[in-house]
Each structure stands twice: as structure tokens, then as C-alpha cells.
């Protein structure tokens, strides 16, 4: 079943084209990686999908219905959640309260939201830190909190924006395992990541953006060998 259809989407900021005729189809249950050099337009794609910015042109359909012009909270309600590249915890609230805010996406009841948030905190491994203030968390824990808050909204599609950046290899291993657990719960994932080893291991498909355009797409092994991708990342030999 097709969950997300992005059809010829562009985003221009004045004279700058950040994303140019981007198209993508996601089937339910997939893990797809979105990679590309810095400034390629990956985060802009996330802003467009999650409703934080309107596309200049093109269509975005989630579960068959257009979500162009729909507000971020309403898109979240429909089952599409995101994390932020620069983590944005509610720093003066406790870890549990942070995640409860996400859980209220599916319930109006405080007890139900608390139960849901507690479950999610156990999944991401933050259970023991539930009463800490978010400002007291280390960066790896903040990344987990960011994912927990998204997960608590009970999304069908979760957009993860560089949840491994700034982490050490051990922490990255733990996050990879966590992403697999989230996927096992039936959540479809679209992942922006610079950590190649991780994205190669996780993704069933990879889409490569460069200067706002899709330059390659396919299975991880094929994409890694694609000369245009190598060139985009390393530059030409001349």
C-alpha cells in the first residue's frame, strides 16, 4: 500500500531553488534513506512533508489525501510525525511530560497519555530518566527523547532528521537497534542521515539529493557505486 506520494515538488526561496521537482513514493512498512551533501535540500524536504513550509509547486499525498497547506499539527494527527535535526526538547519540562505532549495527539485523557508515554520511554530506553528535566539530558538522550516524542504521537510514518549526528559509535549502534525496534512496531521510516554505515545497514532504498535534485535512487549497494553519487560527495577527480 502506498503511504506517501510526493509528486514533482519544488521549493524556491526567492532566487534559490532548494528542492527541484522532487518525487518519492513510500510504501507502508518501508525504511528509506534520504542522503546528500550538506545543503542538498534534505531538511527542506522534511519541512515540506511535515507542513512547516508550503511547496512552491507539486503535490504531496499522505494515505491518498493531499496534505499541501495542512498545518503541522493536523498532519501529525493524520499520522505523519517528524524529529528535528537540531533537537528541540521542551527543556523546562520533565522527560515524561515531554513525551506526554506527543501522546496527547491520540487521546484527551491524562492517564492514558501518561501510560502511552511511559511505554514509549521504555522502548527508547529513557524509562529511568523519566523524572529528569529535559535540560539535564546528554545529547544522546536528547536524541532519544526527540524520537520518543515523535513516536508517542503514534505515527504511521516517522521522519528522522539526523538522529545520529554527534553520537559516538557505541551510541550509534544503540540508535540503529532502536530504529529497528520502531520499524518492527509497524512504523514506516524516512531517514536523513550522514552516517553512511548506519544508513546503508538500515535502508531498503536510498534516495540521493544534490543541489535540490534527485541524482540517484535505488538499493543501498547500487547507490554507493553510482558515479554521480561519488562525485557529489567527493567532487570530480580533475
Amino acid at each position: 500500500m502506498t503511504l506517501l506520494e510526493v509528486d514533482g515538488v519544488s521549493k524556491r526561496f526567492g532566487g534559490l531553488t532548494a528542492v527541484s521537482s522532487f518525487s518519492l513514493e513510500l510504501a507502508a512498512g518501508e525504511i528509506v534513506g534520504l542522503i546528500g551533501p550538506n545543503g542538498a535540500g534534505k531538511t527542506t524536504v522534511f519541512h515540506l512533508l511535515s507542513g512547516f513550509q508550503p511547496p512552491s509547486e507539486g503535490a504531496i499525498r499522505f494515505k491518498g489525501a493531499s496534505i499541501v497547506g495542512v498545518k503541522p499539527h493536523a498532519i501529525c494527527r493524520r499520522g505523519l510525525a517528524r524529529t528535528f535535526q537540531i533537537v528541540q526538547p521542551f527543556v523546562n519540562l520533565t522527560v515524561l511530560d515531554n513525551v506526554m505532549v506527543g501522546a496527547f495527539n491520540r487521546t484527551d485523557d491524562v492517564t492514558a497519555a501518561r501510560r502511552r508515554a511511559t511505554e514509549v520511554l521504555d522502548v527508547v530506553g529513557l524509562g529511568p530518566r523519566r523524572d529528569a528535566l529535559a535540560r539535564e539530558l546528554t545529547l544522546p538522550d536528547r536524541k532519544r527523547l526527540e524520537m520518543a516524542r515523535g513516536l508517542a504521537t503514534q505515527p504511521e510514518l516517522l521522519l528522522l532528521d539526523e538522529v545520529m549526528s554527534g553520537l559516538n559509535p557505541t551510541e550509534i549502534e544503540a540508535i540503529i537497534a532502536l530504529i529497528r525496534r520502531i520499524h518492527a512496531q509497524g512504523v514506516t521510516l524516512l531517514i536523513i542521515e550522514h552516517v553512511m554505515r548506519a544508513i546503508m545497514a538500515l535502508s531498503q532504498r536510498i534516495v540521493v539529493l544534490h543541489h535540490g535534485e534527485t541524482i540517484a535512487a535505488g538499493r543501498p549497494a547500487d547507490v554507493a557505486r553510482d558515479p554521480r553519487v561519488v562525485e557529489a560527495y567527493l567532487g570530480t577527480a580533475s
Binding site: 498545518k71 503541522p72 499539527h73 528535528f84 521542551f90 511530560d97 505532549v101 506527543g102 496527547f104 485523557d109
Partner: protein, 315 residues
């Protein structure tokens, strides 16, 4: 458990002590309760949702003028006029809030626009003969008539405002422990992240605005009945707006008890500095201002924030 015992004891004191107080102190206590109440009303929008209104005088004034005019012109009991004022203030608040929030005004820009809305109403009141222009309105002295919100002594007014303050704290508590409260705090912390987590920021802020403006208007009616005189400068002027938010900020914005605690500290300070500087006009305001600067510099999260940090450090 300890909190309940403490709360019960405080309530008993607040119920009994006024019976023994000389009039001057009873008046101070009434001021404490009124400012605590106004602080609690402001706190819902300013403290929990983080939308720093500088214009709550608008709702205060609408409340005061509505009940007073209904009483003077049509003989409607201010108890009833109070509710009408509350509804009018809520309507005005929702309109002002929708315009501000819809167009993305945040932080100082929101504060300034709310200040402008209140000033606008003040200028309208000053220039409208039907509402007494700048002379304002006097509620003529008359027999005690509880049904018309007129009492023969200060004491009943005290119990009215005490009940209002307790009700305000109860409402705050209810809000804090609901989806609305969580959503408002998320918006205060980071509006984008809140939206991304499914929080309807515009809708939630408007709900906070509705509760806050309604409660503030009821305070306006109480003021009118208690002092039996209102004018545009008092009711729509910036000092009402500032008073409300100061109680909350000094006591601890975004906490249930903060505004009342702030009022218990600030009102006596204000009274004492006025008494100590008698005859030197303006000096008391400077002393008051200095104390505020010190509190905000050293206790940015107010007295409740300080207490909470100490408790966390101890635990």
C-alpha cells in the same frame, strides 16, 4: 499529604484572621487577594502558555465598565453584570488573540499589540460621554444590598475576593493537569516542536486567552463594586496590566500558587515603601522598582522556581 495539611491550615488562617484585623490591614489583605486573583488570571495565558500580555487591563476594564453601566443604566445586578462583562471580555480577547496569533505575533510583538488594544479601549472610554469620559463612573453610596454586590463593611468583600482567588487557583490546577495545560507549556517552551508533536498551537492559545480574559473581567467588576468608582486611567491603564503580571512573575509564572505568593510579597512591600517614604512623592515607586529588578535578576523563575530548584537539589 503534607501539602494538604499546609493548604488546610493556610485556608483556615485566611478565613479566621480577617475577623481580628483592624480595617487598614483588612484593606491590604483585600488588595493581596485581588492582585493574587488578577495574577492567577494572567498566569493562564502568560505563565503557562508563555504569551506575555501587557494588555490585560482591556479585560479588567471591560468587566468593570460592563457591570457598572448595566447597573447604573438598567438596574441589572452587578452579580449578573459580572458574567456579561466576562463574556464580552472573552469575545474581545478572542478577537484580539486571533488577530495576533493568526499573523504569528510572538514574544515582545504580542506584548506590544496587547498593550495597544488596551490603550485603544482607554482612549475610547476617555472620549465617550455615555461612559463618563475621563471623569469615569461613580456607583452612588447606598444601603448595603448583597444582591446588588454592595456590602455594609469591608469583610464581605474580603470573603468574595478570597472565594474568587481560591476558584482561580482551582481552575489553574485543573488546567495544569489537563491536555490543555500540557499543550500550553509545550507552546511556551517551543511552539514549532509543539506543533510537530500534534499541538494545535492557535486553538490552544485561544483557549488560554478565553479563560484568562474571562477571569480578569470578573476581577474588574469586583474592583468597581469595592471602590465604587472607576475611570479609564485606572481600569484600562497600563498599571493594571503590569500589576497582574508582576504578581505572577515574582511569585513564579506557570505555577499554581505563584501569583498569590507574589501578591503576598509584593503588596506589603508596596505598602511599606509608600509608608516609609511618605511625603517624598515617587520615591516609593522607585524603591518598589528596585526590589522588582533585584527579584527578576536573582530569581528569574520567581519564588516558586527558587523553591522548586532547592527541592530538586535536595532530592
Amino acid at each position: 499529604m503534607a501539602a494538604e495539611v499546609l493548604g488546610g491550615a493556610a485556608l483556615a488562617l485566611l478565613l479566621v484572621v480577617p475577623l481580628l484585623l483592624p480595617p487598614y490591614f483588612l484593606e491590604i489583605l483585600i488588595s493581596v487577594m485581588l492582585f493574587g486573583y488578577l495574577g492567577a488570571a494572567w498566569n493562564i495565558l502568560g505563565g503557562y502558555a508563555g504569551q506575555f500580555s501587557f494588555g490585560h487591563a482591556a479585560y479588567f476594564g471591560i468587566g468593570a465598565y460592563t457591570s457598572t453601566l448595566l447597573f447604573l443604566r438598567l438596574g441589572v445586578s452587578p452579580w449578573l453584570g459580572m458574567l456579561v462583562g466576562g463574556v464580552l471580555a472573552t469575545t474581545f480577547g478572542l478577537a484580539a488573540g486571533y488577530l495576533s496569533f493568526r499573523y504569528g505575533l510572538r514574544g515582545p510583538y504580542f506584548s506590544l499589540v496587547t498593550l495597544a488594544f488596551a490603550e485603544m479601549l482607554r482612549v475610547v472610554a476617555v472620549n465617550t460621554k455615555a461612559v463618563g469620559s475621563s471623569l469615569g463612573l461613580v456607583i452612588p453610596s447606598r444601603e448595603a444590598a448583597p444582591w446588588h454586590f454592595v456590602f455594609g463593611s469591608k469583610l464581605p468583600y474580603y470573603y468574595v475576593i478570597l472565594a474568587m482567588a481560591i476558584a482561580a487557583l482551582w481552575v489553574t490546577r485543573r488546567v495544569e493537569r489537563s491536555k490543555l495545560g500540557y499543550s500550553l507549556q509545550a507552546i511556551r517552551e517551543n511552539e514549532e516542536a509543539a506543533e510537530a508533536a500534534g499541538v494545535d498551537a492557535l486553538g490552544m492559545k485561544l483557549r488560554a486567552m478565553a479563560i484568562s480574559s474571562f477571569m480578569t473581567a470578573l476581577g474588574g467588576t469586583f474592583y468597581a463594586q469595592y471602590f465604587a468608582y472607576i475611570d479609564p486611567a485606572i481600569t484600562f491603564g497600563p498599571s493594571v496590566s503590569i500589576q497582574g503580571l508582576l504578581q505572577a512573575i515574582v511569585g513564579g509564572a506557570g505555577t499554581v500558587l505563584g501569583p498569590v505568593l507574589g501578591a503576598f510579597v509584593l503588596t506589603p512591600v508596596s505598602e511599606l515603601s509608600r509608608a516609609a517614604m511618605r511625603g517624598r512623592a515617587g520615591v516609593d515607586v522607585m524603591v518598589y522598582g528596585l526590589i522588582l529588578i533585584l527579584v527578576i535578576s536573582f530569581l528569574p523563575h520567581g519564588l516558586m522556581g527558587w523553591a522548586r530548584r532547592r527541592r530538586r537539589a535536595g532530592a
